[in-house]
Homo-oligomer: 301 residues x 3
């Protein structure tokens, strides 16, 4: 058995010689997926204190608790951001480690300073869910069980890191929450306050999307690109939603010049590739489907 | 560094003063997400004994094994239901703890007594999957790998707790399985025997949906509401499927007065907002799409 | 309490008498879900060395590292495949254990020998993602965060085991990754090199699908069956995509005789049930939706 394993092992190692490698050998360490997940959990418990396991927080104890969590998340972020900065060049190359350290510390504090604002946005997102879903019974229920809230909260944190040009980590945060919730928000997307995603599975929001205040979208909505040419990576490729826009399930809105005007409602399954004026209601013409009796004639409706 | 952390911590704590809080401080403990997940795992191993890791069960040993698991799930449920009862008021408030304890015990036993019936339903759901999917090769395969079966089994348990007016926990069970499978069934939905969801990602079944016997639905099906007004939270907002209804992938059925008659088949991607008579086959008119040769003229089809 | 538990336990055990059981008692052990997950993790770290936690690999150390991982995955596979072989009969029955052991060892080595080729395919899949998504910034980003890449890599391994007629395990691998990514690829599907799935949530690829080289599909695409009759389980029920086919989000392609010709682009949300010639661009006629001002008249577009 050992000899056979040695042979297969050597066959695999031969494939490492490929010009365009997928082996990360002798290079700098990459950010750790598990650390990124742990950082997200700590940050979520700062945003929503008292909702985690085995936490009983009173108002006196809370300042120690928040301080301790900030320190823990901060130290871990300095370490992971430090590793990620090696990937500003492509492929990743060891940079001068000392300079990375101080830059990583600076970026981490810049990020932590955004948390009070993110908390205020989270309050508004919770209220948007409570208002937007007849089935929502309490703030506790929303915080404990709404995947859309968790996806948007993690997005707001990832977006801060994206704006600071931190490599890799924002996308790792986004993909962690995509896997958890089925909601895929690129960290580049800019999302206004009081945003609510209901159900959420299958939602895709592209890198250059801009969303105003008080918007609401449902499961299966795509805010995507018309062109997927690599050379257009730096152009605005995804749509803009102005304030108070609602988009029902399964609708697809495409294109960087597509603007959905304020107060507009987009019906389910709509396919939109150009701008829609403000104050509109847009829906598909009632479909002419075919209705047959299984045992007899036919009847159009 | 410490001084900086203290300043950010104090900025965050200032946001706790917001009128509509998202911090759960000095209040009663909330149900624990991890405990709810552990309870689900124990209950699943009671429903499908012998399918879990490191279990070898023979027919003599099984009665001890089931008894032990019932005791474990029961004790944990008493504890979590006790905590959830504090959330009958909104926001959650400490009630008289003693009375919660005895009520939680009573509710737990009422729930555990429903397990034999849920097991009988699980047998029928497994058979429905085996019958409904040509790719299904054995009951073992269905139990070990079909996400639709797991989502429906957990739903049947969550629905029992929902009917007993237990707060929070039914939705936490539903969201755990939503994240795991991409299938979002509100615990309020009422689902008949021999139900099969194939593939399942993106399925949404709303709170007041009623589903008859022998129904089958595919990935991306929404059974949703036409109105999302908060003041209509207590009205029937979601559709009714009578017995033997099949709904193919991506179809959307909306509205509390929409009834899909028995034996009816709804085609993929259909958008239905009013009732369909029994014994029907309904499908979209073959679409007139545009077909162009990439290099030459154009040709409609 | 104990007496009540004993009564419920006995009620549950009475349901074990059902003719069509869902209790796996006194039978052979089934493959362990956790072991299958651990095997996948080890195999992924062989395909993408250096991308896992706490690994620093240099080129000298790598041969020990790969050898050790192969040994670990191999021993575990022999054990799990051995258990799965009992399920060639339905329901599972203990076979002569010794013969299973040697057959399981043989199958395991046959599988491990396919890893160098799977690694070469993984290089091409990474490049296809980098080329196909304008938002992709580096190979590291693709490997660390693209769910489509992980789903396809695990599929390529599950497909090898499927072709060797190993029961249960290929489907368990597929369902693990379906839950993780929302991408449901049956292990029977045959997929050519340089395949890219972007976003991916809601993708379903059926058992008898055949996909050529350089294909690209987006979220919500279904490659499915027109007939779901159990007696047609052995017929080709799912479509064929020739080389260089692109299918945009939400499109549904159905039927075993449906062939999408090479170089063809299928637009979003299309519903296709018959073959499309090569070099085509196919899209839905611009929809005539209804556009109303919320406060005034009506206007069709």
């Amino acid at each position: 058995m050992i000899r056979e394993i040695e042979r297969i092992s050597s066959d695999i190692i031969k494939t490492f010689r490929a010009k365009e490698g997928i082996n990360h050998l002798s290079g700098p360490n990459l950010p750790s997926r598990q650390s990124v997940i742990d950082i997200i959990a700590t940050l979520e418990s700062i945003i929503f204190p008292g909702f985690q396991e085995n936490e009983f927080l009173d108002e006196e104890y809370i300042s120690f608790n928040i301080g301790e969590k900030l320190l823990k998340a901060g130290q871990s972020l300095i370490c992971e951001i430090g590793k990620s900065l090696n990937c500003r060049s492509n492929p990743c190359k060891d940079e001068d480690e000392k300079s990375n350290d101080s830059e990583a510390t600076e970026l981490t504090f810049q990020f932590l300073n955004s948390l009070p604002v993110i908390r205020e946005l989270a309050v508004k997102d919770v209220n948007a869910a409570l208002k937007g879903d007849p089935a929502a019974k309490s703030r506790e229920e929303v915080i404990l069980s709404y995947p859309g809230l968790e996806a948007v909260t993690v997005h707001r944190m990832a977006h801060e890191l994206y704006r600071m040009d931190v490599p890799l980590i924002p996308r790792m945060m986004n993909e962690y929450i995509h896997r958890k919730t089925g909601i895929d928000i690129h960290p580049g997307a800019s999302i206004g306050e009081s945003f609510f995603i209901d159900h959420g599975t299958g939602v895709v929001i592209g890198e250059t999307t801009i969303i105003g205040k008080n918007c609401k979208i449902y499961q299966g909505v795509t805010l995507g690109a018309l062109s997927v040419k690599k050379e257009e990576a730096n152009v605005k490729r995804h749509p803009t939603l102005e304030d108070n826009v609602t988009i029902y399930s399964g609708a697809t809105i495409l294109g960087g010049n597509t603007v959905i005007g304020k107060n507009t409602v987009i019906g389910g399954n709509l396919w939109v590739t150009s701008s829609i004026p403000e104050d509109s209601i847009v829906y598909n013409r009632p479909a002419e489907f075919v209705l047959k009796n299984r045992y007899a004639g036919q009847n159009d409706s």
